[in-house]
């Protein structure tokens, strides 16, 4: 099942001569258990695509469906509920609240959704434990390393019953080893947790973790990778002789 579907989505800002087309007729799907990477240079429309997919912005034309539900038909409150319960965000600069501990940051979306702090803490701690951060639950963001902060951000994006992960350059501020670890966590969330993920990045090494890579240029989808064949195709003796 498609957790995210963009059908002919366009987005423009301004009018007349000052009109800027950020996205043009973009169609994209991300199924349960699938990680899709969107690659493109700065200004290609990657971040706009993600904010529209996350229902934070409305498209100028076209349709967005999250978990099969057309966003244009749901109320403002229902959209906010969808963002709290179904969609998880991972930002490049983590966006953790500095006055809250790691556990409080992770359980915050559940509290905002009406759960008591005490009840929200349980899945929050479980999320931290899943990402190897159980010893850091009481630490504040400035007491954590960059890699740990990003893992807390991923735990927050996955807490509860989220089914769609949207990540904007999720490892841009990290070194190579931590960046790979972040991508491994996102992929595990898809393969083991059944989530769908859309990761936007300009980095080919990070995009290569995805099941499918979609290329964006000047607001248009220009190309995508084919489904990768089995790894053994690179290891045949004929190729190496």
């Amino acid at each position: 099942m498609s957790m995210l579907e963009l059908r002919g989505v366009s987005k423009s800002y301004g009018q007349g001569g000052a009109e800027v087309h950020a996205l043009r007729e973009v169609s994209l799907t991300a199924d349960e258990g699938e990680m899709v990477a969107v690659m493109g240079p700065s200004g290609s429309g990657k971040s706009t695509l993600l904010t529209i997919a996350g229902t934070l912005e409305e498209p100028t034309s076209g349709e967005v469906l999250v978990a099969g539900q057309p966003i244009s038909t749901v109320s403002r409150n229902a959209k906010a509920r969808l963002r709290r319960r179904v969609i998880g965000y991972v930002f490049q600069d983590f966006n953790l609240l500095p006055g809250l501990t790691a556990a409080e940051n992770v359980s915050l979306p559940l509290e905002l959704d009406g759960l008591s702090a005490r009840k929200a803490r349980v899945p929050g701690l479980r999320g931290l434990e899943r990402l190897g951060l159980d010893g850091r639950a009481g630490h504040y963001p400035d007491q954590l390393s960059g890699g740990e902060r990003q893992r807390v951000a991923i735990a927050r994006a996955m807490v509860g019953e989220r089914r769609l992960l949207l990540a904007d350059e999720p490892s841009g501020a990290l070194d190579s080893a931590n960046a790979q670890a972040v991508m491994r966590l996102l992929l595990d969330a898809c393969k083991e947790g059944g989530m769908a993920a859309v990761v936007v990045t300009h980095d080919a090494q990070l995009a290569s973790w995805a099941d499918r890579v979609v290329f964006l240029r000047d607001g248009r989808v220009t190309d995508q990778t084919a489904v990768a064949p089995g790894p053994e195709s690179l290891l045949t003796p004929e190729r190496n002789q």
Binding site: P41, Q205, A207, V213, D223, Q224, T225, A226, L235
Partner: protein
């Protein structure tokens, strides 16, 4: 990778049979560089001729013939490990040539050419990443695949940079081969040393 020095490195751990050397070479390079039996024995014969390894003296030329490294072999291996490979001359890269040629061919869309190569490179990187994750416990394989991924990544980055330069040149109204009229009378900056040497050879 040099099979010659890989054999010396394996023998530096202790005496081994020919078949064992082949199996260990493949295992330690994560089967990224498979060897055939002929390559192994030819290399061992040359190493023996050069006094870098010695065999156990049996007349058996088959897989059970044993080899050990000599003192000269140990020295040669140490020298090789510390010697950087020659990276001073840029390789003649077919992909680079294709993008450069596309700039001059009137019917070619250079963006489409760049994207075709970019897609291929990213598809290869997807496959290598999957192999690395499947073999995450094997350090030799992981390191060999990391090297390949970094190499392919540099190709992808070059394609991005090339596209950005082509776009900039188009928005400046400069033809992709440069504004020759305005540069004809200007003094060119000296080329890097190896480029000048290449020109002298021509």
């Amino acid at each position: 990778m040099s099979v010659r020095y890989a054999m010396l490195a394996l023998l530096s751990e202790g005496p081994k049979y020919g078949l064992q050397l082949r199996e260990e070479f493949e295992a330690r390079t994560g089967e990224v560089w498979p060897l055939n039996v002929g390559q192994v024995y030819q290399t061992l014969q040359r190493l023996e001729r050069d006094g870098l390894v010695e065999s156990d003296g049996t007349s058996d030329e088959g897989p059970q013939k044993g080899f050990r490294i000599t003192a000269d072999g140990e020295q040669e291996l140490a020298r090789w490990l510390r010697t950087p490979p020659d990276l001073s001359s840029p390789p003649r890269d077919e992909l680079v040539m294709k993008v450069l040629v596309a700039l001059y061919v009137p019917s070619a869309d250079v963006h489409a050419v760049i994207q075709a190569h970019r897609r291929y490179v990213v598809e290869l990187m997807q496959q290598w990443t999957r192999i690395r994750e499947d073999d995450a416990g094997d350090l030799n394989t992981v390191l060999a695949i990391d090297a390949e991924l970094f190499r392919l990544d540099s190709v992808a980055r070059w394609l991005d940079a090339a596209e950005a330069r082509v776009n900039r040149a188009a928005s400046d109204g400069t033809p992709p081969w440069g504004d020759q009229a305005s540069t004809r009378n200007q003094t060119r900056a000296p080329l890097p040393r190896h480029r000048r040497e290449v020109r002298v050879r021509r």
